[in-house]
């Protein structure tokens, strides 16, 4: 109990010391905040993109752009033939007029389309393969077979780019992880250096307290708390920065996604990731001061 009380005392004493030098403290905390905010923001970015695209993953489909000279009846006939193929689950026919109408709905294009006297769009057959064929390996031969029909101008897997994006995101994710590791090291070094300066500044005080019987643990404690607190407050700063960035981006992203007819909300830091950020900041701060204290406090002995 007494032990706990003593730790609490040191905690508040250290907090008081940080408050007493507000400018220096704010500088350190801001640097740590920005350092931690960078990987946190990138993480959220990747996470959100992955969340958005995760739903599209299985819905691979093949679009067959028909030649201009294929009439609607020819297209209908081809649709029925394709429908009977064992790989195919479903085929949809999008006549040129319907394609045009859909394009018109997207604001900004209607003006441009008015200029054209002829519909430039081809008819399209959208082929949705059965689930068992909707793999990269299964899709390739199907794509080739479909492309060989004489009516077909071009066969294209629609969601190829989603898969590419997914693969890219995996790489980016790993990059973010490496970056986060490097920046965590930076935080350790920043705090280590701050604590080193604090130790040198209070050299006399340390000598005197050792002279009158302070243990190393006693001398160490305020510095460890100081490192922990600065890391923690830096993490709080990072949290505020990330949340601020998201608030700023939320409006534009809402607008953008509503254009594509989806109601997508950017997901910020949740309870778990916030907790991880704060804990990470505190632990890194503690680690930084621990390393610094281990190196520099040993050398200070009363003369």
């Amino acid at each position: 109990m007494n032990y706990l009380l003593r730790h609490l005392q040191v905690f508040f004493y250290t907090l008081g010391q940080l408050v007493r030098t507000p400018f220096a403290s704010l500088m350190t905390i801001s640097v740590i905040g920005i350092t931690l905010a960078l990987p946190a923001t990138l993480y959220l970015l990747v996470d959100n993109i992955q969340r958005v695209t995760a739903g599209w993953d299985g819905e691979a489909q093949i679009s067959l752009f028909l030649k201009k000279n294929v009439a609607a009846s020819g297209a209908r006939f081809l649709q029925q033939r394709l429908q009977r193929m064992p790989e195919v689950k479903h085929v949809e026919w999008i006549p040129p007029e319907k394609g045009l109408a859909e394009l018109r709905k997207v604001s900004g294009f209607s003006g441009a389309l008015k200029v054209l006297d002829e519909n430039p769009l081809p008819g399209v057959l959208v082929v949705v393969p059965k689930k068992s064929y909707a793999t990269p390996d299964g899709l390739k031969p199907l794509l080739q077979r479909l492309g060989k029909f004489s009516e077909v101008d071009l066969a294209k897997i629609d969601l190829e780019w989603v898969q590419r994006l997914q693969a890219m995101l995996q790489i980016v994710r790993r990059g973010v992880l490496v970056l986060a590791g490097l920046l965590a090291l930076a935080v350790v070094l920043i705090i280590g250096n701050t604590i080193r300066l604090a130790i040198l500044n209070r050299r006399d005080e340390i000598e005197i307290t050792k002279l009158i019987g302070a243990t190393n643990a006693f001398v160490r404690r305020p510095f460890l708390y100081s490192g922990f607190l600065q890391g923690l407050l830096g993490a709080v700063m990072a949290w505020l920065l990330v949340t601020g960035i998201l608030v700023l981006l939320d409006g534009p992203i809402q607008e953008l996604t509503s254009l594509y007819g989806s109601r997508f909300r950017v997901q910020g830091l949740n309870l778990a990731t916030s907790g991880l950020l704060l804990l990470g900041g505190g632990v890194l701060g503690w680690l930084g001061s621990r390393l610094s204290v281990g190196r520099h406090l040993r050398n200070i002995e009363p003369q």
Binding site: N2, E205, T209, K210, L211, I212, G213, T215, F218, P302
Partner: protein, 223 residues
């Protein structure tokens, strides 16, 4: 209380600051340690709190064999010994009260006991009214008394002082030495390093004299 037995101290540079020192100080004794500048007085006091380690010989303080005392036990040794320095060594960014409280804070004493004991110590050195001041605004004599209050707040049974009157005029010096004398009469063993022979004449206590690191004179107990 203190037992030196053929103690040598050689500094890293190779200088022999203490050579073959042997003497014994009994409980509740008061001893002046004297000698020319560079004779080794400060070095001898530093051995007692293990600020410096003896190079050779036996050294026993308060029934502890300092030769074998491991590093982690040193803080606990220092808590049993009150030390007063010539340059006070006060923390200038803390109040008089906080300075005197430091040895108690270090031992983890409870807050309400700290207040009581700090005021008792300040009362003994006559500075009770200045507890909220910063040390810098005090006179040299007052700062030295703060140092003494800090040294005795733990109620140590051994008090060491290295030139405690170095910068003070005669009247103030006498006051400080009288203060040590008073603690001695309450049963505290006192060892004062000084080259001010006046006190030695005045109080007629035991004198140890060092010269070039050797103990050349021991008056023995005189009163």
């Amino acid at each position: 209380m203190i037992q030196f037995d053929t103690v040598f101290k050689r500094y890293p540079g190779g200088y022999d600051a203490l050579k073959n020192i042997s003497f014994h100080v009994a409980d509740e004794e008061m001893v002046f340690l004297t000698g020319h500048s560079g004779a080794g007085k400060s070095t001898l006091l530093k051995l007692l709190t293990l600020i410096e380690r003896p190079t050779r010989g036996q050294l026993i303080v308060n029934n502890k064999n300092l030769i074998r005392l491991p590093g982690w036990r040193v803080p606990y040794l220092r808590r049993e010994i009150g030390v007063v320095f010539q340059d006070h060594r006060l923390l200038n960014d803390r109040t008089v009260f906080d300075n005197v409280a430091l040895p108690l804070v270090v031992t983890g004493l409870h807050r309400r006991d700290i207040g009581r004991r700090v005021r008792a110590a300040l009362d003994k050195v006559g500075l009770l009214s200045k507890e909220n001041l910063m040390p810098i605004v005090l006179s040299g004599g007052e700062q030295q008394r703060v140092g003494i209050a800090r040294a005795v707040v733990n109620k140590p049974n051994l008090l060491l002082a290295d030139e405690p009157t170095g910068n003070l005029d005669e009247a103030l010096s006498d006051e400080i030495i009288d203060l040590f004398h008073e603690f001695n009469q309450h049963g505290v063993t006192v060892l004062v390093a000084t080259h001010d022979l006046r006190h030695i004449q005045r109080l007629r206590k035991r004198v140890l004299q060092l010269q070039n690191g050797e103990l050349i004179f021991d008056s023995g107990v005189r009163s």
